[in-house]
Amino acid sequence: MDAVLTNFANGDILAITWRPLLAGLAQTMLLSLLVIPLGAIAGLLIAALFVVSAGLARVLLMVWIDFFRAFPPLVLLIYLYFGAPLLGYEISAYAAIAVSFTLNTSSYFAEIFRAGIEGVPRGQWHAARATGMSWLQSFFVIVLPQGTRAVLPDLLSNIITITQLTALASVVSVPELLHTAQLAQATSYNVTPIIAAAVIYLALLWPLVRLMSHLDARRYSTKLSAAATQRRRRQETADE
C-alpha cells in the first residue's frame, strides 16, 4: 500500500506540483473557451450555408465536412505546426491549434446544427416568413432555437469531446494540463502528476458526462412517448 502511495499519489510530489498543474488546468480551460466558440460559430455558418445551398454547392459543402471529419485532428495539427515553417511561415502553437481544431470541430458542429435545423418542420419557416420576417430573422429567431433544442445532447457531447481534444496541445508544447503533468513527471521521476492530471480531467468533465447521459435518457423517453401518442391517435382515428 505504501509503495502504491509513493508511486501514484505521492504527497511530497503533489506539494511541489499542484501550482503548475493548476496553471495547466487554467490553460486547458482557456483553450476550450477559445476553440469551442470558434468551432460552433464556424459550424453554424457551414450549416446555414448548407441549408440555403443546392446542387453542386451542397455536394461541395458535404465533401468539405466529411473531409475534415475523416482527418484526425492530431495529424492536422502537426501538419500545420511542422509544415508551415518549412514553407517559410512561422506559426505559433496557439494559431496552429486554433486553425486545426476549428476545421475539425466546425465540421462536427455543422453536422449537428444541420440535423437540428432540418428537423424543424417547413411550416415554421413559412409561418415566420408570412409574418413579414426576413430570412435571417426567421432563421435566428424561429428555426435555430427549435433546431438547437432538439440536438442539445449532441452539442454537449461535442463540447466534451473538444475539451478532451485540448490535451493534444501538449504535443506542440502548449503548457496545458497534460503537458504540465508530463513535464512534472519527467523532472520528478514519479507518475503522481500524471495521475493527478487524469483526476483533474475527471473532476472537470464528470458532471458534463452525467448531464449528457441524463439528456440522452430524456431524449429517448420523449421520443418513445411521442411515438406512443402518435400510435394512440392513429388508433383513435381508425376506431372512428
Binding site: F67, G119, Q164, A167, Y201, R210, A217
Partner: protein
C-alpha cells in the same frame, strides 16, 4: 508553387518512405480492428449486464463508463504507458494504445447500448414474458434487436471517432502512420511524409464517414 511541391509532395521523398509508410498503415489497420472488436464486444456485454442485474450491481459499470468517457483518450494512453509499469505491468506502446482505446470505446458502447435497451417499451418485455419466453431469451431475442436498430447510428459515429484516435498512439511510440511520418519528417526536413500520412488517413476513414451517413439515413435515430 515550386517550393510548395518540393516541400509537400516531393516525389523523391515520397518514394523513399513509401515502403515504411505502408508498414505503418498495416499496423494502424491492425490496431483499429483490435480496438473495434474488443471495445464493441466489451461494451455490448457490459450494457446487457447493466440491464439484467439489480441496481446495486450497476454502480461499478456506471463508474467505469463515466470515468472512461470523461478522461481524454490521450491522457488514458499516457497513464497506461507511464504509470502501469510502476504497478508491475509492462505493456508495449501498441498494447497500451489498444487497451486504452478499447476501454474508451467499451465505455461509450455500454452507455449507448444501455440507453437503447432502456428505451424499448415495457410492453415488449411483458408481451414476450407472457408468451412464455424466459427473461434472458426476451432480452436477447425481443428487446436487444429493437435496441440495436435505435442505437446503430450513434454507435457507428462514436466508433469512427474513436478509431481515428489510433493516431494518438504516435505519442507513446507506437510505430503507426503518424509516428513513422513524424520521424521521416525530422530525418528529411520535408513535409511530404506528413502529406502521405494525411492522405492515408483520409483514404482509410473517408469511406467509413460515408458509410456512417448511409447508416444514419437507413436507421434514423428519431421516431
Amino acid at each position: 508553387m515550386g517550393r510548395f511541391v518540393d516541400q509537400f509532395i516531393n516525389p523523391v521523398i515520397w518514394a523513399r518512405y513509401w515502403d515504411e509508410m505502408l508498414g505503418a498503415i498495416g499496423l494502424t489497420v491492425q490496431l483499429t480492428l483490435l480496438v473495434l472488436l474488443t471495445g464493441l464486444l466489451l461494451g455490448l456485454v457490459l450494457g446487457l449486464i447493466r440491464v439484467a442485474v439489480p441496481p446495486l450491481f450497476r454502480i461499478p459499470i456506471v463508474i467505469f463508463a463515466d470515468v472512461f468517457r470523461a478522461i481524454p483518450p490521450l491522457v488514458i494512453l499516457v497513464v497506461n504507458y507511464f504509470a502501469l509499469p510502476f504497478a508491475g505491468i509492462r505493456l508495449s506502446g501498441f498494447d497500451c494504445a489498444w487497451l486504452g482505446l478499447c476501454l474508451v470505446l467499451a465505455a461509450f458502447t455500454e452507455e449507448i447500448i444501455y440507453g437503447g435497451l432502456r428505451a424499448v417499451g415495457k410492453g415488449q418485455w411483458e408481451a414476450a414474458r407472457s408468451t412464455g419466453l424466459g427473461s434472458v431469451t426476451t432480452l436477447m431475442l425481443i428487446v436487444f434487436p429493437q435496441a440495436l436498430r435505435m442505437t446503430v447510428a450513434p454507435l457507428t459515429n462514436r466508433t469512427i471517432a474513436i478509431a481515428k484516435n489510433t493516431a494518438l498512439g504516435s505519442v507513446i511510440a507506437v510505430p503507426e502512420i503518424l509516428n513513422i511520418a513524424m520521424s521521416a519528417l525530422s530525418n528529411s526536413a520535408n513535409s511530404t511524409p506528413l502529406t502521405m500520412a494525411a492522405l492515408f488517413y483520409i483514404v482509410l476513414f473517408a469511406p467509413l464517414i460515408v458509410f456512417s451517413r448511409w447508416i444514419e439515413h437507413r436507421f434514423p435515430q428519431r421516431g
